[in-house]
Chain length 314, copies 3
């Protein structure tokens, strides 16, 4: 697809002198030559001047901030335009002709479905009903319990154990909204990376990244029925207890503990060694490790004090 | 099964002069000639006089409200009676001899299981481990990701995407209770209807209706690990964020947004364009759209004010 | 594995005069001759003098409490030692050569996977994508809906219905922690027992016990997306509504009702006939049945009063 074809699809005027082919969509920071990017949030404005993207969808008022050799596609709804465009660049479900490569002493149950392009290490057990999507990479000594679904491009490290029914790499929940209240899907092109020694419980869901990767770092342990949104990073040796959740793009430092049914909003950073008590709800980044409770969140000691005071007003 | 056989099964005295055959159970309002109905909640009393049902299970004191040609089966525990009876009318898992009909350019993975009576449109991808129950109808360009389970009689529209592990049409959570504290299952005979352009995340559950349909209307987007109870109606272009839930028979108007881990009680109506903040819990119907928070629910502005006041009492 | 080999693995000094073979790990109370046990919590100290275990891992200061014929393996981190040892005694995924035994008039769908050693009663329906692990026992008239995963050694009673995607017997969430913040898995050797007439909804997860059994007693009804931790006991005729959760080792008495999104901490006992309102969070055992709400939990009446007072401070 060329820049002009993209402009035509989005009904944007295109002043590009050349029929430059575009190979993908990416963020301003990560985009390479040949990719298209967008500015939908002014906090990324400073990345306009150094972007390597070949074209950028952005509002008229910001176009002058682009380097001279980057094509500006002018829209007052750049996020909506990117969402509409994203379908054209969505990866197909099957995209490889290379038969799966399976390491020695790995057991694949007969009803498991392994797509082309997959690599599985040695000593793995891939149980019944497991699905592994195109080009996923599975390390050594991995156990995938029955009916686990691994979407395309996922990378699973060594000694990882994933319990039954868990879904890795499902689409992040991202939509642009039209003025009529319709939601236009932003097709997700990123993946999920799960590092070594991670264990994930049953019926948990970890969404893939929009661009880039959702990452679960080495040694983290994730319980049942947990939601981890797109582009989250779970640090080394974290503990997430059942029914907790992370909204998109939140980062947990190492050794964070999240109690049962606790949750965070999106785009937050939680300091290493933070403990979030059961049911706590985090709406702001946590700079300093400690024990926190409640919704709104406060230091656990304060929460206990508040509850004691509330008991007295009765 | 005739009315007298039903009476015998339920150990109710039957005064029906004729051996009228009964073909199903339904609500007072929806029942047609040949069906049996019941009165378990006095708020439906006004529907007795106009019901088309051939027989109604109801308390002695209400029997005089029935039209003359409707047989009264007298019980002081009509809901329990209906539950006991419902097993006799439960639909079998397999009920059709007609081989599935699959549209052109649809891909069915080898381990998918499609029951008889199913119709699948064109351009669909039905991935590994998917189950589609008897007589379900799937539109065009539908993607069912791995290990999705669609129960019998479900209707899925066009351009619907359902992510891995999600369950559509599982039995609603409905029981009548005996005096000894046992729970008698009310077998669910309704279905789930999902309209066009709906996307549903991973490991979400949408229960079928007791009678009639649970409906997800056009363009709604439903995230991972969400519970939608029997007989709910989700309006057009709603957004439900991960781990939120709707108890049975609740209706969302169009463009309602439910934040993460928010929930509603059953039998409520939520006004169009309502936004429920993360974690909010709704126990009463919402008449007027707006932004609401907290549990108990209040206007979001008030909730913020309350939290500020609470912070001060410390 | 002998006691001395265990000591060597754990780098503990072993003074055992004999090469006694050890067959398993168990609690002080349940251990039999030939098993090894441990003391990680001083509340179990009183069980040292009567344990039947052949060896016990425990701190130096408690070693004198052991009977003379029990070998003491001295460690100041006994729980960590047991976790490290547990992998050596973990049951393999497949462990039986006996072909499954399937009762008359039971239907097994072609893509169901039944391991060796399984016994299935009569009149069962085992649908597509179901997995039943080694040595599991399934009673009569059981329906396992599509993509249900039953881990090894589970026992399912008669007339049990388990909806699609539910996972029975996944590993409990148990880890010992090193001084460097790593989590060492305690391999779970127990099972899940589900008694007669239980119904379990879709995408629910019930973990197996560390030692012994997680038990769901007769007639209980469990909704969708519920978490039940290792070693819980759910009493007769309980009702658990969607998205509720039980942390490990909690016991519900008979006819307990848990509302939607309610939860309990671990190691609690909830009195029979207790009702926990939606969203309630239980952190202490409940001695007396009644209706409770809130987090922290209080009598429902008090909770209503508290909310009324809070509304007034605005």
């Amino acid at each position: 697809m060329t820049i002009c074809e993209i402009a035509q699809l989005l009904q944007i005027e295109c002043s590009s002198p050349v029929e430059y082919p575009i190979t993908g969509i990416n963020t301003l920071k990560e985009a390479e030559k040949g990719e298209i990017s967008f500015l939908s949030d002014s906090k990324y404005e400073k990345e306009l001047s150094t972007t390597q993207a070949s074209a950028v969808i952005l509002p008229f008022a910001k176009a002058h901030l682009l380097p001279e050799d980057v094509v500006a596609l002018i829209s007052e709804e750049p996020y909506l335009m990117v969402a509409k465009l994203s379908k054209s660049f969505a990866k197909p479900i099957k995209s490889s002709d290379i038969k799966p490569i399976i390491g020695c002493e790995s057991t694949i149950y007969p009803t498991a479905h392994i797509e082309n392009g997959v690599k599985i290490g040695s000593g793995c057990t891939i149980m019944s009903g497991v699905y592994i999507g195109s080009d996923a990479i599975i390390g050594d000594n991995v156990i995938l319990y029955p009916n686990v679904s691994i979407y395309r491009d996922s990378c699973i490290g060594n000694n990882v154990m994933i319990h039954a029914g868990t879904v890795i790499g499902s689409d992040g929940f991202g939509y642009a909204h039209t003025k009529l209240g319709e939601h236009i899907k932003l097709y997700q092109n990123g993946n999920v990376i799960i590092e070594d020694d991670v264990e994930i419980g049953a019926n948990t869901t970890i969404d893939c990244a929009v661009f880039g990767s959702t990452v679960i770092k080495r040694g983290s342990k994730i319980d049942n029925l947990i939601q981890i949104g797109h582009n989250c990073v779970v640090g080394e040796h974290c503990i997430m207890v059942s029914q907790s959740g992370l909204a998109g793009s939140t980062t947990l430092g190492r050794n964070v503990v999240m109690g049962g049914q606790s949750a965070t909003a999106g785009h937050l950073t939680i300091a290493p060694f933070t403990t979030l008590a059961a049911r706590s709800g985090v709406t702001k980044s946590i700079i300093k490790g400690g024990v926190y409770s409640g919704f709104p969140l406060m230091e656990h000691k304060l929460w206990l004090k508040l509850q004691a005071k509330l008991a007295k007003i009765l």
